[in-house]
Amino acid sequence: MIKNIPDFTISPRIDQVGIEERASRFTKRSIKNETKINGLKLALNMIDLTTLEGKDTDGKVMQLCYKAKHLHDSYPGLPTVAAVCVYPSMVGVAKKALGDSGVKVASVATAFPSGQSTRDIKLRDTKFAVSQGADEIDMVISRGKFHQGEYNFVFDEIAAIKQACGNARLKVILETGELGSYDKVRKASDIAMYAGADFIKTSTGKISPAATMPVTLVMLEAIRDFYYKTGKKIAMKPAGGISKAKLALHYLVMLNEVLGEEWMNNEWFRFGASSLANDILMQLMKQKTGVYQSADYFSND
């Protein structure tokens, strides 16, 4: 356990103009040639390939899992994605389909996406997903309680879910699109990390805006400050709204310049995305062949 838990009512301040300016500066980096290819492959390897729909079926999840293992077999040497992210009821299917491929199964839990349920149900939701074999749990925080100023409630809930996770790594979704300011994003990040999060994650993907670069930057800086205070590394997952390879590279530049190279792998950084993989594949093929191929040449699962 971490000692010296700070007073979350006075978390560090974020200047909106400043953070947005800094975030846009990363987009000015020009990523070329081998740096680009390495970056694109790394981004592929950091993807949590996601399907979170009411109409998800076993068939859909199995297809997605195949895609996770075989992104584009005509391009030899490509990595797999990091994980497949599904609802708890699909964890068993995904686990079986992924087998020993090394691709992890992540499951959303805790009355995703709203989190409007009781502690008991959230815990059972989590335990069910873990019992089905989930390697990672993506929980949502209680945004209502957070806005009410009940930070202890939010903290305790995260801590309880962390306990229920057992060996599974816990991703805490702040749903930044509902928090309203960068100051609150910072506060929620601090609460989540001190309460035991292994990852902090921007969004469910169900609310707009989802991940943005400034929001992610606020969270990366919170991770850095937490690391210096406690010595504990926390992973980051922006999710939703990242569908283009170029934007993914901007995120990697930002990660590299804020947290450094130790975070530049899928243990410490993930992209929550469904359509990003194909755009990266398209860019990789372009780098290899010199021409763009139609979207029809990349599988949609």
């Binding site: 301040r13 200047d15 400043g18 020009s30 850095r224 010595g231 530049m264």
Partner: protein, 490 residues
């Protein structure tokens, strides 16, 4: 489990080792030799002398530049006087505006070429010349073009009239932008101009001369003569100049003021600075650190309003220092033409020697020096981003303008203390305040003796905003309405 805090260190090597992404040099058309731009034509200097201009990043020669002597300066002033008397002062303000708009638009059209030449000649990163210098220069022309036919409204009932011939001398840190700052308001108010760029960075001013030719400005309205200090002195001392506008060092500013004492020449001087950048403990610290980086490492610190003295409230000193060092490690130093370069080349060998002298002085004074660990290119003039801690007000590195990527850091305890320290300098050009508290900002801005004060940001420029200093940082304002009045009799 948790390691000891003092052993933690983030690693940034890979963030600096990006594949090269150089901007193409092919857009830059640089002639082998440049003459003097007098009376609308390029003329050989009567001095018959030329000097070399080099690329400070590679030390390769770029071009030969004509050196104007007294006779050449006289020719330029006579041309400007003729143009003023015979045409320009009678030209309708609307017509004047058209010419200025035209110049602005041609600058925009040639933005890429101008940016590349600015970077080749001066050493600044292409990211800055592309995103800051050139667009801001165009904006100044656009802005003042708009004022040309509205002077009666800018200064109601005061019958604003042009002064006559303006002699303008500009520095090497923002060559094209400074030329725009000087020429645009002078033309808008109906004056004619003789402009001398700095000897190490004449190229974009001469490119601007070509643009002025292309814009079909009447001959003699703008004359651009090149040369070093002697040429500048000849311009200042010429009898037929009505106004001197100078941007540069405080030492030269003093010489100019002496030289024009007892004459009718009006003057605006924009001189050196040693700005205080002040971080309170309630500030948004990461953004404040970014502001410090922009404040001192923008254009390699070759900025008269650079935030070269950092004051940090003692309760957040350690954390600010750590953030600052981490941020410095992710700065990319190298080829200025590379789009990823944050810190380019020092403008000249001479300036690099000045900076290195101060690095020695700082260490001898007992201050602790930290430099980022980036590699330095073998050729060219470079200086690593540098900070000094354990600095006192009595240190020379805290008192004198270094004009390089060198920051001195002091701590403070109370608001009164930092106001006293910040004002305890012969300079007074700019300052920065970082706090989350609005009332503190207003208290600080009313007590700091500086011409420009930024709150929760730094080094922001806009044509609509006046710029200029107190005390040894000079007098007169450039930009905005104030910038017009410096070129008008009222």
């Amino acid at each position: 489990m948790a390691k000891k805090n003092n052993t933690l260190k983030l690693k940034f090597d890979s963030s600096r080792n990006l594949a090269p992404a150089p901007e193409s040099k092919s857009v830059a058309k640089i002639a082998e030799r440049y003459e003097l731009f007098i009376n609308g034509k390029f003329e050989k200097p009567s001095s018959k002398k030329y000097f070399d201009t080099i690329n400070p990043a590679t030390e390769e020669k770029l071009s030969s530049i004509a050196e104007a002597n007294n006779a050449d300066v006289n020719k330029a002033v006579v041309a400007a006087r003729n143009a003023y008397e015979k045409g320009w002062k009678k030209t309708s303000p609307k017509e004047r505006a058209k010419y200025i708009y035209r110049i602005a638009r041609i600058i925009q059209e040639k933005a890429r070429e101008l940016a590349v030449i600015e970077t080749l000649d001066g050493g600044k990163p292409i990211r800055e010349s592309r995103d800051f210098d050139v667009p801001t220069a165009a904006n100044h022309f656009f802005y003042y073009a708009g004022w040309a036919d509205k002077l009666e409204y800018a200064f109601p009932n005061r019958n604003p009239q042009p002064l006559g011939v303006a002699g303008q001398i500009i520095p090497w840190n923002f060559p094209l932008l400074m030329a725009a700052w000087k020429i645009a308001p002078a033309l808008a108010t109906g004056n004619t101009v003789v402009l001398k760029p700095a000897e190490t960075t004449s190229l974009t001013a001469l490119k601007l001369a070509e643009i002025i030719q292309e814009a079909d400005l009447p001959p003699g309205v703008v004359n651009i003569i090149t040369g070093a200090g002697a040429t500048g002195a000849a311009l200042v001392n010429h009898n037929d100049i009505n106004k001197i506008a100078f941007t540069g060092s405080t030492d030269v500013g003093k010489i100019i003021q002496k030289a024009i004492a007892g004459t009718n020449k009006k003057a605006t001087l924009e001189l050196g600075g040693k700005a205080a950048n002040i971080i309170f403990d309630d500030a948004p610290l990461d953004q404040a650190v970014e502001g410090v980086i922009n404040g001192i490492f923008f254009n390699q610190g070759h900025v008269c309003c650079a935030g070269s003295r950092l004051f940090v409230q003692e309760s957040v000193y350690k954390i600010v220092l750590q953030k600052l060092k981490d941020r410095m490690e992710s700065l990319i130093l190298g080829d200025p033409l590379d789009k990823n370069t944050d810190i380019g080349a020092i403008n000249s060998k001479q300036q690099l020697e000045v900076i290195n002298k101060y690095l020695k002085i700082g260490q001898q004074e007992g201050a602790e020096m930290f430099q980022s660990s980036c590699a330095i290119p073998k050729k060219g003039f470079y200086c690593r981003p540098t900070i000094f801690t354990n600095v006192a007000q009595s240190n020379r590195i805290a008192q004198e303008e270094i004009f390089g990527p060198v920051l001195s850091i002091q701590t403070f305890r109370t608001e009164d203390e930092v106001i006293e320290k910040a004002n305890n300098t012969p300079f007074g050009l700019s300052a920065g305040v970082w706090t989350d508290k609005g009332s503190k900002i207003f208290n600080m801005t009313s007590k700091l003796r500086a011409g420009v004060i930024w709150a929760n940001t730094y080094n922001k420029f806009d044509p609509t905003s006046p710029f200029g200093g107190y005390k040894e940082s000079g007098f007169g304002r450039e930009g905005g309405l104030h910038g017009l009045s410096a070129y008008l009799k009222m």
